[in-house]
């Protein structure tokens, strides 16, 4: 059990021994954090975007987009293992500056960290806004949008104010409550599937498929939060495996959902649906009339998924800002960001602008999680070789 104030200043303990820093996130919780965030991301519009360029093969591009995300998380997890107990703030400063000029590291890493925090902030607000759009279109038509935004962000703020251990536990708790209903619903919706809708297997040429791949890999964003969460993760090999599993589970679910949507609706109909997964839930009938309106349960589950996604991003943003600016408690940042988030969520004028923003943010974050961890990882490899090289010259007999 961690003492109350001990986690708040990880940044000030850069080279600390293993027994002192609390590693509060177990591998199982790592899987839960990643899965809950990624499932909430794009599950509502993913089938449409996947089949827009790739037509009937949309589900394949979703499955293959997983590999790009696996690559990214491989980089991040090896960085996390190298620098145990440190968030991206501290080790990026080390790597970019080197031992001789620590100030340079601070200066160089500052813009990248700020842009990381900024993108996560924008992500949080856009996901909240997309969520409120769905709720207003499908469930609560007369409720003012700001009420939905405010309450969602307020609940996420309350969770983000707690420590990483609490967040990990909430994710672990909600993980089966999200995954199992979504999986069940998807499997049941196959009753309306017409398999001819999935033929031909390779309808488009390589160029269109590649564009589709890029578009769907955007929906895997969110795992770069591990840059922050890896500081609290137990540095055992099971944690590394858990990160890959945490990408694999949402990948599988997304593939199944896209497969079901294309099989039930056909890609031409998917173009006309604003929220395809919601319509999939609406068209599903569970025989026996126990539960005639499946979409009610589905929406409830999806609210939980969005909630975990938002609060994870919120927490990660606050942590990065806390360590960059050496603030004592990240709770003040959480509180201060709240009006900013509310304002950002209100910015897009209508749902098409929301989609546009999400697309742009997606491309930016793909750039960020392909570029930034790659650079850091390469630098880490260089420095490791330098260190090993120095050692070898010290012991010529080796």
């Amino acid at each position: 059990m961690a003492e109350p104030g001990s986690q708040s200043n990880i940044a000030q303990r850069v080279n600390v021994a293993k027994e002192e820093t609390p590693y509060v996130i177990a591998p199982r919780q790592v899987t839960a954090i990643l899965s809950c965030t990624l499932i909430g991301m794009g599950v509502l519009t993913l089938p449409r975007i996947a089949s827009h360029w790739a037509h009937e093969a949309g589900w394949m591009s979703v499955l293959l987009g997983m590999f790009m995300a696996m690559f990214g998380i491989g980089l991040i997890s090896s960085l996390g293992q190298r620098f145990v107990g440190q968030t991206v703030v501290s080790y990026s400063r080390q790597l970019l500056g080197g031992k001789t000029r620590p100030r340079l590291g601070v200066v160089l890493s500052f813009p990248i960290l700020i842009s990381l925090a900024g993108i996560w902030l924008a992500d949080t607000s856009m996901i909240t806004r997309a969520f409120s759009e769905v709720i207003m279109a499908a469930v609560l038509e007369n409720t003012p949008m700001n009420v939905i935004l405010f309450l969602m962000l307020a609940t996420a703020m309350y969770l983000a104010m707690h420590e990483a251990e609490v967040i990990a536990r909430v994710n672990e708790l909600l993980f089966p409550l999200i995954v199992i209903p979504v999986l069940l619903l998807t499997l049941i919706s196959f009753q309306n599937a017409r398999w001819n809708n999935l033929l031909p297997l390779f309808p488009v040429d390589w160029r269109a498929f590649f564009i589709s791949l890029l578009a769907t890999s955007v929906f895997y964003k969110g795992f770069e939060m591990m840059l922050v969460f890896s500081a609290f993760t137990q540095p055992i090999s099971a944690a590394r495996r858990a990160q890959f599993v945490g990408i694999g589970i949402p990948a599988l679910l997304n593939t199944l959902i896209t497969l079901a949507a294309i099989a039930v609706f056909s890609y031409e109909e998917l173009e006309r649906l604003m929220w395809p997964t919601l319509e999939l839930a609406t068209s599903t009938e569970i025989p026996g009339l126990i539960f005639e309106r499946v979409e009610a349960a589905y929406l409830a589950v999806w609210v939980a998924a969005i909630f975990t996604a938002i609060s994870n991003f919120y927490f990660a943003t606050a942590k990065i800002l806390q360590e960059t600016f050496r603030i004592r408690h990240h709770q003040w940042i959480v509180l201060g960001l709240f009006p900013l988030l509310l304002w950002l969520s209100n910015l897009p004028a209508h749902v098409y602008q929301v989609f546009h923003w999400i697309e742009i943010l997606g491309y930016l974050s793909v750039l960020l999680w392909l570029g930034f961890p790659l650079i850091l990882w390469l630098l880490a490899q260089i420095r490791l070789r330098e260190k090993n090289g120095n050692r070898r010259t010290d012991h010529p007999g080796q």
Binding site: P4, T143, Y158, M161, S266, E268, S283, E285
Partner: protein, 384 residues
Amino acid sequence: MKPSTFCHRPHVALFLVLLLAGMFLTGCWDRRDIEQRSLVSAIGIDKGAAGDYLISIQVPIPNQIAGSTGTGGGGGGEAYRVITSTGDTLMEGLNNLQKRTNQMIFVGHTRVIAISEEVARENMASIIDGLRRKSSFRRLLWPIVVHGEARNLLTFSPKLEQLPTVFVMDQLKTSSKLGILPKLSLGDMYIAMSKTTEEPIAYYAHVSKEDIQLDQLAVFRGNRMVGHLNAHEIIPLIHIRNQRNGPDVTVPIDPEKNVFVTFHPKKTKTRINTRFEEGKPSFQIRIRMDGSITESTHKEIINPVRWMNEVEQATAAYYEKLAKKTLQKLQKEYQADILRLGTLFRGRYPEAWKKIDCWQTLFSNAEIQVAYDVRIRQTGLEKR
């Protein structure tokens, strides 16, 4: 969960508690008791005299349904009320109807949408758009095209149920379970309208004062109705399109001597092969049916096995004749591919599909061969 030192400050905790209490306010704006809603069980769309639409809604009266024991009497009886209003579009009609009811109209429980043939033949696109956008309209509605006035479907009194809508709903459910009609929802219509490979169909009803004849299908091309298929022509459609059993058929073995046999199909297996030669698609459809005989009016006692073979062949020939008639109608007269053959063709020959511009013309010239293979497995309790 241990609260951090930050949260120990009392005013912060109070503030957060107040925030959380606000959570219970969600949905205040949308809360509506069920007594404050006018539930619509069916919607009817007719063509008005001035070129606009006549939208009718059937609103059930809960008190009457719960309390009444006897039948309601004539049409427009005590268990429901039908209100009609005009409008240039579906939504305008509904808004005008709202001005005539005392509670807020709620279309979430609508199960049947009745469209008059005149409207269906003209253009359904604007109505479909209105139905799609509103989230309360479910995709599981039954779409019915009515010969004549759609309002008749809302006002006829079947006497077996209090609400005509419930009667129609149950009838459609039973029919699709028995295989007399394909199971067809509004969502299926949407999908068929969006796809370029197939055309939509809807149920086609003839309504009189106390009766409804619901055994035909309306054939659409795009958004317009082009014709209908009668009860016999639907049978091969169910075999090919839905790959289900279809209804029982009474096969005339020897009509002069009054010999008929009723065949009840139990298992259907459809195999469709498609080929594309010289710019013309061809389909070979082989349907294998296993079933039983439920009735036979022959008089002489003959060799049962030879007789069964005879009946099998006669049934297969009868089915093939029906299929030919249906295909003739679909290919030549309507030029509408409602058999989902286009989807299959696009799946097998995507390159060829990209080159053609209009599937309907190709479909009307396609060569479609249907071969039935009927096997009789049971003959009931009589040994003859």
